[in-house]
Structure formats: C-alpha cells, structure tokens
Subunit: 161 residues, 2 copies
C-alpha cells in the first residue's frame, strides 16, 4: 500500500468508525427513544438523525460524487430547528432507511476516489480560490463531516441506555 | 506542498479547528458554568474538560513525542467517573491552564513530524502487529482523538449560552 493510500484509508476508517457508533446506538433505540430530547429543551435524537442524514446527503454534490437522494429532508432537519412542524413529515423507519442508504452511497463513492482525487477541490470553492487554498479539498470535507458526526453522536449518546 | 504534506496538514487543521471550538466555549464560560451538567445526571463540563486534558496528555507518549505533563489528572478525570471525589482536586484556572499547555505541546510536536513519521506506528501497538496492521499509525491516533474531542464538544455545547 502506498503511503498516500494509507493516509486516505486511515481517514475513511475514522469516518466509518463514527458512523458505526451511531448505527449501534440506533439499533438499540425504539421509536420512542428517538423522540427523546438529548437534554431538556434541546434537539430530539430523531431530529439529529435527520440532520446528519441531510448533511451526509449534501456531501454527494459537495464531494462531486453524485446527486442528492433526499433533498426533501432539508426543510425539516437542516434549515429549520427541531419541532418546527407539529407533525413529523418523515417516519422513523423511513429516516433510518435514508440514513443507511446515503451512507452506503457515500462509502461506495469513497472507495472509488484515488488519493489524488481526495486532494482535488470540493464543490463549494471556485477553481481560482482553490489554487490559493489547496487544503480546501475533498479530504477536508470528509474530516469535517466526521467531526460533525462525532459532535452529534456525543449528544445522542446522552439518551442511550 | 507535496500531496503527503497536504494530507497531514488537512488532518492537523481538523484537529486545531475542534480544539479552537472548545476554547471558544471555555472563553465564554464562568467557573459556575463549568460546574453545570451537560444533561441531568450526566458529566459536568468541568469533568469533560479534565477528561479531554488527560486524554490529550496521554497522546504525548502514545504518539512517542514526549513525556506526560499531567498524569495526576488521571484519577479524577479518566479512571473514575465524575463526582467520585466530593472536593475537586484541581481548580478551574489550573485545569484551563493544563488544557492550553498540553495542546500547545501537542501542536509543537505535530509540526515536527514528517508525513512518513505520521505513518509510523503509535506506541500502543507492537512492531510485529504493526507490520500486519499499518493503519494503526500516529495519524489514526490523531483522527481518533479529534473525533473524541468533537464527541465531548457536542455535549459541552449543550450548556453554552
């Protein structure tokens, strides 16, 4: 394995670990558990799961590896705070399925990117700006979303049994 | 900049971002804020700060870049749960200072490691095992501790104003 491949593999492993950690928490959560707030007056686990799913779905175009699968999640889970809508628009089973599907699609895309492609620009930066700021690459998106995952996983853990 | 350097810089930037995020939360927290629980019956911010400081301090020997600075934090913040001791052994100002000092020492060490050194084994794996599992390198420790930071940062955020 070349050292460049090893760098990329290590970063992808780190992403997979935290997704697996969230999956494990979900596997032991009932639908009622998902409706619990992580702390009084804070987001419900259900909202955080939707939020992470929407953010992961957005990674597809940001990494330039595909089109979005679930743009309809944005209003409920990304642009509006939790409990904006009196009735959930997405049931728990559909949400869990979306979470798994988008992560599978991302993992397949990750496996197809070469180390050099990981160092190419992500889609939120212009080619001109990227020439000056080469660290704003796909890999930085992966690491930043891994952190984002961990950040909310820490909150979701507060209600796990 | 070589692509190997870029991989390493991107990972170190990710670490620095999350440490800076925690620093920002601490800067706006009073000593009383630090005593608040992140959720009812859960860890206090004070405990999580001590916990992260102890874990970062342990990174020095794990990454083989130096000796520990604050092994005395382990009993209160790592091996025992929060509120084991009726009186805190470390006051908030000292704890914040330890947090900053250990992060400065780590950052200085990170800057001195070459990309190849990042791919060398960490100290918790034998040379024989590392030959079979080359992904258990220093970089994997950095990414895993960055996630650990994010995980608890998400919890600490729940009490921020």
């Amino acid at each position: 394995m070349t050292s460049e491949t090893l760098f990329v593999t290590t970063a992808i492993n780190s992403w997979k670990q935290i997704v697996a950690q969230i999956d494990k928490g979900l596997a032991s959560s009932s639908d009622e558990d998902l409706q619990r707030e992580v702390a009084p007056g804070k987001n419900r686990v259900y909202y955080l799961l939707g939020h992470l799913t929407a953010v992961h779905d957005l990674m597809l175009p940001v990494l330039r590896v595909g089109d979005r699968l679930y743009p309809e999640l944005d209003e409920e889970f990304l642009t509006k705070p939790d409990r904006t809508f009196p009735e959930s628009r997405t049931n728990a089973a559909d949400l869990k399925r979306a979470w798994s599907t988008v992560n599978e699609k991302l993992n397949a895309a990750f496996a197809n990117l070469s180390p050099q492609q990981w160092l190419e620009r992500h889609n939120s930066i212009s080619e001109d700006d990227f020439a000056k700021e080469p660290h704003r690459n796909r890999l930085s998106v992966l690491l930043s979303r891994t952190n984002h995952n961990s950040f909310h996983a820490g909150q979701m853990r507060l209600v796990s049994k």
